[in-house]
């Protein structure tokens, strides 16, 4: 793109920024007050958890969270429709393998901890799921072509676990008269925990599978040590 057009776009973007800054400043100056904060914090004791963000995510705006899981699923399905996964990297050397042996279990443990602690401190399903996904990424980088994930059949069930449990609980609540995703006051804590656990597993599997980048391949037969090493273009990265 030639420099004049680039400069023009830059000037327009700068003008837009100035306009938005002005509008934003004048709005803040008006001080609209509490917004939704007071309501959300008021509702906290009945929400079943004591972390206000988790309460909003899993209780007040649970519908959004359900759809967010659907968005993750859609992205992975799109990735899978594009073709099989590329072959994995070469197996890790001894130093990397040793580190992976420590880091991956730690990541999984930390994920579990974040899931549990999300009820009363910063944490929750998405954070835990992200750690699990990161564990999968580390495994793939260290040479495990499937990022530690099970076979495709299992993967398909695991990725729908989060949204599935969520929507089934929601429908059950609707059928029993409480309303879609409106938890009865006593059960909220356990329902939220159940939903978050399912979501964590689903998110972790989805993120790792997305990093693998394609439909899961069948397991490769073990290479004979006598065979000549094949050139793997990805090994150079």
């Amino acid at each position: 793109m030639n420099r004049d057009l680039s400069l023009l776009i830059g000037i327009l973007a700068a003008l837009l920024a100035v306009l938005l800054l002005g509008v934003f400043h004048s709005t803040l100056a008006l001080d609209p007050g509490q917004r939704l904060a007071s309501l959300a914090l008021e509702r906290l004791p009945e929400s079943g958890v004591s972390n206000p963000v988790t309460a909003v995510l899993l209780n007040d705006r649970a519908y959004d969270t359900l759809l967010e899981l659907a968005v993750l699923l859609a992205a992975l399905l799109g990735i899978w429709s594009l073709g099989p996964a590329r072959p994995g990297f070469q197996p890790a050397g001894p130093a990397l393998a040793a580190m992976v042996d420590w880091v991956v279990p730690l990541a999984i443990l930390s994920g579990g901890y974040l899931l549990w602690v999300g009820g009363h401190a910063p944490g929750g399903a998405f954070q835990a799921g992200a750690l699990l996904g990161a564990a999968g990424v580390i495994l793939r980088l260290a040479g495990n072509a499937s990022a530690g994930l099970p076979s495709e059949v299992w993967q398909r069930w695991l990725i729908v676990l989060g949204a599935g449990v969520f929507s089934l609980i929601g429908l059950l609540l609707a059928l029993t008269g409480y309303g879609f995703l409106s938890y009865p006051p006593g059960q909220a804590k356990w329902l939220i925990l159940l939903i978050e656990t399912a979501a964590t597993i689903a998110i972790g599997v989805t993120l790792a599978a997305a990093y693998v980048g394609g439909r899961p391949r069948m397991a490769q037969p073990p290479r004979s040590p006598l065979a000549a090493p094949t050139a793997d273009p990805e090994a150079k990265r």
């Binding site: 509490q34 705006r61 699923l73 399905l77 899978w80 929507s167 429908l171 309303g179 938890y183």
Partner: protein, 482 residues
């Protein structure tokens, strides 16, 4: 009961998507079952809105403004009925289209997720929830468009995805500003609170610009023709008939409901002018198109332009029966185009499958050997042109009368030119269908594929034209003023 009927059109396709993901071998069967159930739930809700009144529920068991509202009024219900019936037609067609193909297990979950997002958008009453639904819609539409995995399809849909993301970001910034000023995200509450101010104006511009990108309003339409033309036929039908409609519906909702106090004549004129550009440019490019599906995609650009032409008319008309007529005509036009374009794309897909290509100039033999399909193209084409008795004829009639009454006679020229150009490109397609020997004996050659296309095209002409009255009553208005 209220919660159930409002949530089922969203929960059912979502569950269907999850099941078809987990059980890919029986995906077509599950997909069709989910499609039937979803369509029934959508029609049930439409019936409820027709019979009783607008429905509304807040999810999360806590009153607004903290929970997320889900609502159905006349406008939502009309579009929901359209998405239910068109979606059902596309699903039945897709069973045959993808049978035996390895694309089938990929199509069904993504298609059901797209349907979830569509229904979610039509029923949403919360601005941030709309953002998530828009993203779901964009992701599944881009993934579906690239289903053939050909280079053109992947490139075009990557472009579509990026454009969609830009639109979503712009929309989200508008939402952030609204939350900053008014402290709530609920459309109903906001429509009471919003006052004319710099912030409200900035927000509406940001949100409209983002949504206009997604609705392919000229000149932001550049992504649409390649994306729609290179997708498989059922996907093209869904994209042209339903996905761009959802973005337009949102702009209509924002302008007439949320920001009704602050829309100005000038702003509405800009939208109308862009719509006029879309009509003229889109129809011209459709006339020059060499491929049938590219023609249909450009035709979509043009028809979306007609929908945007309603904005200056609605803005200028004072409240009253005439304005209600205009609003209902806008809805009728959107719904008719949905049926017509879906029928057109499904039929075009059949022609392409039969002939192996879709170059218009060489279609003669294929078109003649499939009379039902060609008839569907003709019916859908007549609805696209706006011939009586199709719904778009009534809509254009009301639009032209509105333009005359508000003194904006220049739109009349645009509408007339657009109609002429549409007639030209439709007749160009149909002229290939005659004059070859021998003529075929039976009308329908492949029932499962041709019947949905035929029914959709027939609906756009007959049902919607002759039964436009229900749309007026669905929206709560008296009958058309003649």
């Amino acid at each position: 009961m209220t919660t159930d009927s409002l949530i089922l059109p969203i929960a059912l396709p979502l569950l269907g998507a999850l099941l078809t993901t987990a059980l890919p071998r029986i995906a077509p069967v599950l997909g069709v079952i989910a499609a039937i159930l979803t369509a029934l739930s959508g029609l049930w809700l439409t019936g409820q809105v027709w019979g009783d009144a607008a429905q509304h529920v807040v999810l999360g068991g806590w009153a607004l403004p903290l929970g997320i509202g889900v609502a159905a009024d006349g406008l939502s219900a009309s579009l929901l009925a359209m998405s239910s019936l068109v979606g059902l037609g596309i699903s039945v067609y897709a069973v045959g289209y993808f049978s035996g193909s390895d694309r089938s297990p990929h199509f069904w979950p993504l298609w059901l997720l797209l349907w979830t997002a569509l229904n979610g958008i039509f029923l949403a009453a919360d601005l941030f929830n709309l953002y998530v639904m828009l993203e779901l819609l964009g992701l599944s539409a881009a993934a579906l468009g690239a289903l053939t995995n050909s280079r053109e399809a992947v490139a075009a849909n990557l472009r579509y995805l990026l454009v969609g993301l830009l639109g979503s970001m712009s929309y989200l910034l508008g939402v952030a500003l609204i939350y900053t000023a008014y402290g709530t995200l609920d459309i109903g509450l906001l429509s009471e609170r919003i006052q004319p101010s710099a912030l409200a104006a900035t927000s509406v511009v940001l949100m409209t610009a983002g949504l206009a990108l997604k609705a392919a309003l000229f000149p932001l339409h550049f992504w649409l023709p390649p994306a729609h033309a290179n997708a498989p036929a059922p996907v093209s039908a869904a994209l042209s008939a339903l996905v761009v409609k959802a973005a337009f519906y949102l702009i209509l909702r924002l302008w007439t409901d949320l920001f009704a106090n602050i829309t100005t004549t000038g702003a509405a004129f800009i939208l109308g002018a862009l719509g006029a550009g879309a009509i003229l440019w889109g129809s011209w490019r459709a006339l020059r198109a060499e491929r049938l599906k590219l023609l249909a995609a450009y035709s979509t650009v043009a028809q979306i332009g007609y929908l945007f032409l309603f904005f200056p008319l609605l803005q200028a008309m004072p409240p009253g029966p005439a304005r209600d007529d205009l609003f209902a005509a806008c809805v009728l036009m959107a719904v008719t185009h949905g049926f017509a374009k879906a029928g057109f794309f499904l039929a075009a897909g059949l022609v392409q499958k039969n002939a192996g290509h879709d170059r218009i100039d060489e279609l003669g033999g294929a078109a003649q050997s499939m009379p039902a399909t060609t008839f569907s193209i003709a019916l859908a084409g007549s609805a696209l042109i706006g011939l009586p008795p199709s719904g778009s004829f009534i809509a254009k009639w009301v639009m032209m009368r509105g333009a005359f009454e508000t003194g904006q006679w220049w739109w009349l020229i645009v509408i007339a030119t657009g109609t002429l150009l549409a007639a030209a490109y439709i007749f160009r397609v149909l002229s290939r269908a005659f004059g070859q020997e021998p003529t075929p004996r039976c009308f329908v050659t492949d029932a499962r594929a041709e019947i949905p296309a035929l029914l959709l095209a027939l609906s756009s002409v007959a049902l919607l034209g002759l039964a436009a009255g229900p749309i007026w009553s669905l929206l709560g208005f008296e009958g058309v003023q003649t």
